[in-house]
């Protein structure tokens, strides 16, 4: 099948960052990881105990195993023991639940994440009023290290769920509602996250990267997202920009500082500097950009973007990709 072409690309995206709750990078995931190990230890011990009792009841000589053949054994093992264990566990886990949802600060950095089939729109509402003004990006969440962040999660179509396991548990994005998630990343680097509520045909290919940056670096990044894009520097890039207009890309995509302000698809203002294309699918460079524009329905069938492989000439396609790559 045609899908086979993208396999090497799938492998490429996996070069940095892991996606697991067992390697916490922040305080919230840290609390859950501790609890997880406690549950594993306790669970393994109880499993060994119960299976040991079973083996004893089945294999031991009758005079020894008779000791367990009583109602009292059932009451002790089946009611008293779990009741005490579970009561302790409940109290402990409630404490952790509270710590996970309690805010640390009154004014966290707010980030809106909107789930769409099958990509993520990311907005920084503290930086401006409307989507044309505030910093907007896609499939990538930039976070300052050490600062508490509140993610405002909503959906543009069906239910999605945002999971960034190294930082926090998942939370659903439900049409008509806004869910709030607090988290804090304590070390810089790149993490992978993914949609965990089945959202349709390409649910499997709906990932994103979280980029944790030093505060100064983050501020600079944020400012760059709001600035107009640089003018084309080569003739090819200029031609690419022209193709962008002629092909009607601006009806769905926005580019800062131009007349193109479409909001149906990802904002492309700084596409060249992003880590991924197609929601965590490819690295971003000329070749992948051209391939995506030409064959998006082969690479990720069912996504909202039409394929332009037949409408654009090879030259125009490469020019367009060159311009987009230069939007950094």
């Amino acid at each position: 099948m045609r899908l086979r072409r993208l396999l090497p690309a799938l492998a490429l995206t996996a070069c940095s960052g892991v996606q697991t709750p067992l390697e916490p990078w922040g305080v919230q995931a840290g609390l859950i990881a501790q609890l997880t190990w406690l549950l594993f230890g306790g669970g393994a011990a109880i499993f060994a105990l119960v299976l040991g009792l079973l083996a004893f009841a089945v294999l031991a000589p009758a005079r020894l195993r008779r000791a367990f053949a009583s109602r009292r054994f059932v009451l002790l093992g089946g009611i008293a023991f779990p009741a005490v264990t579970l009561a302790v566990l409940l109290a402990h886990s409630m404490g952790i639940s509270r710590a996970l949802v309690l805010p640390e600060t009154e004014r966290p950095l707010r980030i809106e994440v909107i789930g769409r089939q099958y990509w993520w729109e990311v907005r920084y509402p503290d930086t401006g009023e409307g989507p044309g003004d505030m910093a907007v990006t896609a499939n990538e969440i930039h976070l300052p290290v050490g600062r508490e962040v509140e993610l405002l999660l909503s959906s543009g179509d069906v239910i999605h769920s945002l999971w960034l396991p190294n930082l926090q548990g998942k939370l659903d994005m439900i049409p008509g509602r806004v869910n709030r998630m607090r988290l804090r990343a304590d070390r810089p680097g790149t993490l992978r996250g993914q949609c965990t509520e089945f959202c349709g045909l390409q649910h499997a290919l709906m990932a994103f990267w979280a980029v944790v940056q030093e505060p100064a670096e983050f501020d600079a990044w944020l400012a760059r997202q709001q600035a107009p894009v640089p003018p084309p520097r080569t003739a090819e890039q200029a031609r690419g920009m022209q193709v962008f207009g002629e092909a009607g890309c601006g009806a769905c995509h926005a580019v800062r500082g131009t007349a193109w302000q479409g909001r149906l698809g990802p904002d492309l203002s700084r596409i060249g500097s992003r880590l991924s294309l197609g929601a965590g699918l490819h690295e971003v460079h000329r070749a992948t950009l051209a391939g995506w524009i030409a064959g998006t329905q082969d690479i990720k069938p069912g996504n909202s973007m039409p394929a332009y492989g037949r409408t654009l000439s090879g030259e125009d396609l490469l020019a367009l990709a060159a311009w987009l790559e230069a939007l950094r």
Partner: protein, 847 residues
């Protein structure tokens, strides 16, 4: 254990030897049609094993889908199937396993075994059971075939809107689920009613609730849970189908709906569903363990308590599946506590089984059933412990919707249900026909046991390594490759086990013939059982009658106990009182017939035509179904008193051979049905109130919509009340000399109900309530539509009663049609009054 000395042949309720003609008559009455006419047979000894076989077929079919899934996921980026097919595959795998395998399988085992276990000839409504089986088999196979045409459901077995709304899923795939599965739920409910009445009313004399086998207890709790849980998913499916077909916005937030309403309704069914599947399996284990250990179950009454407790607690757990929807942490703590609490009864049963093994007088032999039980304990205890983990809220925020959950649920369901079921297959096969092979059985066990663990244990790890559920591929380089490859290899191993099992059944199992009792168990199903059930029905004095009275099986088989004959020359079973099981009457049962077959074909055809929007075909099939049902009722139900009016069943016990009114099983079934209807209506009322909560007072009604007109509402209330009174009068007038006052009262009641329903709906329309503009209107009209459907059924029942009266098949004594109509009518009128109160008073209170 051998406490009682053997009785002399003359001390038995019916002295031995029995006259030869007696057995011949019994055999003639219960004889099955041969050849293709066998399809008209309704006997549980035929339908039961067929039902079990069909359920196991669906197990294999759904397993095949899983093998494709595992092949696709064996390595990153494989393209064995395209994404659209993959989504259908996992949706169908879950749906078929849950709806077409797990629930029907346990119901099937009950239909096959319960009559024998209870010492009954048959369950009280064999035709209903056969009808339930047929719609399940026909509908289920058609539903399964949708995958070959690419029109299988693809929204996950949980079908969350708005992904499944018309806009996002325009194809028939979703309708296939909503209609296809919806009516199979009806089959499950029909089976549940049959089981409840059967367990409570068809036990052998002296089998008090305290002496009833644990499996019967488990099935009683199972059936009660079906009655209270399944209506929620029927209501949810109905609402979503109304939204898709008529644009009534229950789940669309832009018009006041809420996607979470679906999740509450679905999981109110879906969580109890897990225990609906597990409890019968636990009941089987509680039967097999004592037999294999040759000692009574330790802590019997605690185990019963655990079953009942699980039934109650499981209804407080549905939010477990919604931890990540943003529900406040404090309310989640309540549900976490409930989740912990429900693990206690399961743990208690595990300890009771361990204690029973420990009590074995001799060494345990590792026969195949024992192996399956031990394998069950290993897998189920592990799954239970991960279950406690995922009810810990913060952990679930990480684990939810990852492969950790896939691992957990397969451990619970395969461990908690499949292994006991397969153990049961090997254990009980000798009571139904030829036993299975011990050698092949052990091969099947080890392949399945190792295969299950090799498949699913690594999924705990891949889940925590970041792999979400329901993805058709995953990237390389995240450490997922190894675990997935191992899982796929394990799946192949489990498939080999299933193949060995299939081979064993195909090669060795034959229905009927010489029955044996290789485990020398103590309960009644091990008495020789044929078409007519046991030759005679014993008095039960103990939980394990075959152990405490070693001669009992022989006496029963020789016909020395109760009712060794047919009293009326028809198929019969003995009806006893619900708690103490004292004989009350001999119920005449319907025999073979075509009515239920025609009705089943019609029902399945109706729903499948609706799926494809073939409306004319749907109408024809509906007529066929209705005709079949009416024909079956007309011919077989309420045959009236037959000679002799009383029967001496032995031991000086004389009981009537006919009953009507509150003592009859028909009335009991109607009360069960009213509970189903009431639960469904409560779900609708709850949906209305939930949508109000979401929208707030100011939007209830929203601008542009009004309140139902009070005057018409009051009129409707009056009509409903007058109609119910008139029907009551009709029931009383049946005792009169002339049939005409009764008939007139019946007709008047029908007119009044019709007028009430019209006024009820007119009040909404005149008040400016419109179903497609806003959830307010949609919820209001849904309540009315439900009421209208009940009114239509009530009218149909009145018409039937009238026809019975005109045909002189209804009188002061032979009055079953009148009695059940009366019960349903009173329910309908009451439901109408509650609906009117909510629709008219509630929004006015807000203003």
């Amino acid at each position: 254990m051998d406490t009682n000395p053997p009785r002399a042949a003359t001390d038995l309720p019916n002295p031995l030897p029995r006259p030869e003609a007696e057995l011949a008559a019994l055999e003639a009455v219960w004889e099955s049609p041969r050849g293709w006419r066998r399809i008209t047979e309704i006997n549980n000894n035929f339908i039961g094993p067929l039902f079990v076989g069909t359920a196991l077929l669906f197990f294999l079919l759904a397993g095949l889908l899983a093998l494709v899934i595992r092949a696709q996921l064996a390595w990153p980026g494989l393209t064995l199937v395209d994404p659209a097919t993959y989504n259908q595959l996992f949706t169908m795998h879950g749906t078929v396993m849950m709806f077409l395998f797990a629930v029907p399988a346990v119901e099937a085992v009950a239909i096959a075994l319960l009559p024998a276990m209870l010492g009954a000839r048959e369950l009280p409504f064999p035709r209903l059971g056969a009808y339930a089986y047929l719609i399940y088999a026909i509908g289920g196979l058609s539903f399964y075939c949708s995958i070959f045409f690419g029109i299988a459901p693809d929204g996950g077995w949980f079908m969350y809107p708005p992904l499944t709304s018309k806009e996002n899923s325009p194809g028939v795939n979703t309708d296939m689920y909503l209609l296809g599965i919806g009516f199979i739920e009806i089959s499950a409910i029909a089976g549940a009613i049959e089981l409840i009445v059967g367990i409570l009313r068809c036990r052998a004399p002296g089998m008090t609730l305290g002496r009833m086998p644990i499996f019967a207890w488990a099935m009683l709790v199972f059936a009660a849970m079906v009655i209270f849980a399944f209506p929620a998913v029927i209501v949810a499916s109905t609402l979503l189908e109304l939204e898709r077909a008529f644009d009534w916005p229950f789940f669309l937030p832009e018009r006041g709906g809420d996607p979470l309403l679906w999740q509450h309704l679905f999981w109110f069914f879906g969580h109890p569903e897990v225990y609906v599947i597990f409890l019968p399996a636990a009941g089987m284990v509680s039967m097999i363990v004592p037999a294999m250990a040759r000692t009574p179950l330790v802590a019997h009454s605690l185990v019963v308590l655990a079953l009942v407790g699980t039934g109650f607690l499981s209804f407080g757990l549905w939010v477990h599946h919604m931890y990540t929807t943003g529900i406040p942490a404090l309310s989640l703590a309540f549900f976490a506590a409930a989740g912990f609490a429900v693990s206690i009864p399961s743990g208690l049963q595990v300890f009771a089984w361990i204690a029973t093994f420990a009590a074995a007088p001799r060494r345990i032999r590792f026969d195949t059933p024992t192996l399956f039980i031990l394998g069950f304990l290993f897998i189920f205890v592990l799954g239970g412990l991960t279950g406690v983990m995922v009810s810990v809220t913060p952990f679930d925020w990480q684990a939810h919707d990852t492969y950790f959950i896939v691992a957990h649920l397969h451990y619970v369901l395969i461990g908690g249900m499949v292994f006991p079921l397969l153990g049961a297959l090997y254990y009980w096969a000798p009571t139904l026909g030829r036993p299975l092979s011990e050698r092949l059985g052990k091969w099947a066990f080890w392949l399945l046991f190792l295969g299950t663990n090799v498949t699913f244990f690594p999924m705990h790890i891949s889940g925590l390594a970041g792999m979400p559920r329901r993805i058709y591929t995953y990237p390389a380089g995240f450490g997922l490759e190894v675990w997935n490859a191992v899982s796929s290899a394990g799946a192949a191993m489990a498939a080999a086990g299933a193949a060995v099992l299939l081979l064993d059944v195909a090669k060795n199992f034959r229905l009927g013939g010489e029955q044996s009792s290789p485990w020398r168990a103590g309960t009644l199903e091990w008495v020789t059982n044929t078409n007519y059930g046991p030759r005679s029905i014993p008095r039960v004095r103990d939980r394990y009658p075959l152990w405490s009275e070693p001669g009992l099986a022989k006496e029963v088989e020789a016909g020395g106990h109760y009712l060794p004959f047919t009293a009326t020359g028809r198929r019969e079973t003995l009806i006893t009182s619900p708690a103490e099981a004292e004989p009350q009457y001999v119920a005449v049962l319907p025999g073979v017939g075509w009515g239920h077959v025609v009705a089943a074909i019609g029902t399945a055809g109706f729903f499948l035509s609706l799926t494809g929007e073939f409306l004319i075909e749907a109408a024809l099939f509906f007529a066929l179904a209705l005709g079949g049902i009416l024909a079956w009722l007309w011919q077989g139900s309420d045959p009236g008193p037959l000679p002799p009016r009383e029967a001496d069943i032995g031991g000086g016990i004389v009981v009537p051979t006919y009953a009507t009114g509150a003592v009859s099983t028909a009335s009991w079934a109607m009360v069960c049905l009213m509970l189903v209807q009431g639960t469904a209506y409560a779900c609708l009322l709850g949906s209305y109130l939930f949508l109000w909560l979401v929208n707030g007072d100011a939007m209830w009604p929203p601008p542009g919509q009004g309140l139902p007109v009070a005057g018409f509402g009051l009129a409707a209330l009056g009509f409903y009340a007058a109609g119910a009174a008139s029907l009551q009068a009709a029931a009383r007038l049946l005792a009169g000399r002339s049939p005409w006052p009764h008939r007139l009262a019946l007709a008047l009641a029908a007119l009044l109900l019709l007028a009430g329903t019209a006024a009820d709906g007119w009040a909404l329309w005149q008040g400016g309530v419109r179903p497609s503009l806003h959830a307010y209107g949609a919820a209001s009209w849904a309540l009315f539509a439900w009421q209208g459907m009940h009114a239509a059924i009530a009218l149909l029942m009145a018409g039937y009663t009238l026809a019975r009266s005109l045909a002189r098949l209804l009188d002061a004594e032979r009055r079953q049609a009148m009695d059940v109509t009366r019960l349903f009518w009173i329910y309908t009128a009451g439901q109408g009054a509650v609906g009117l109160a909510l629709l008219h008073l509630f929004p006015r209170l807000l203003a």
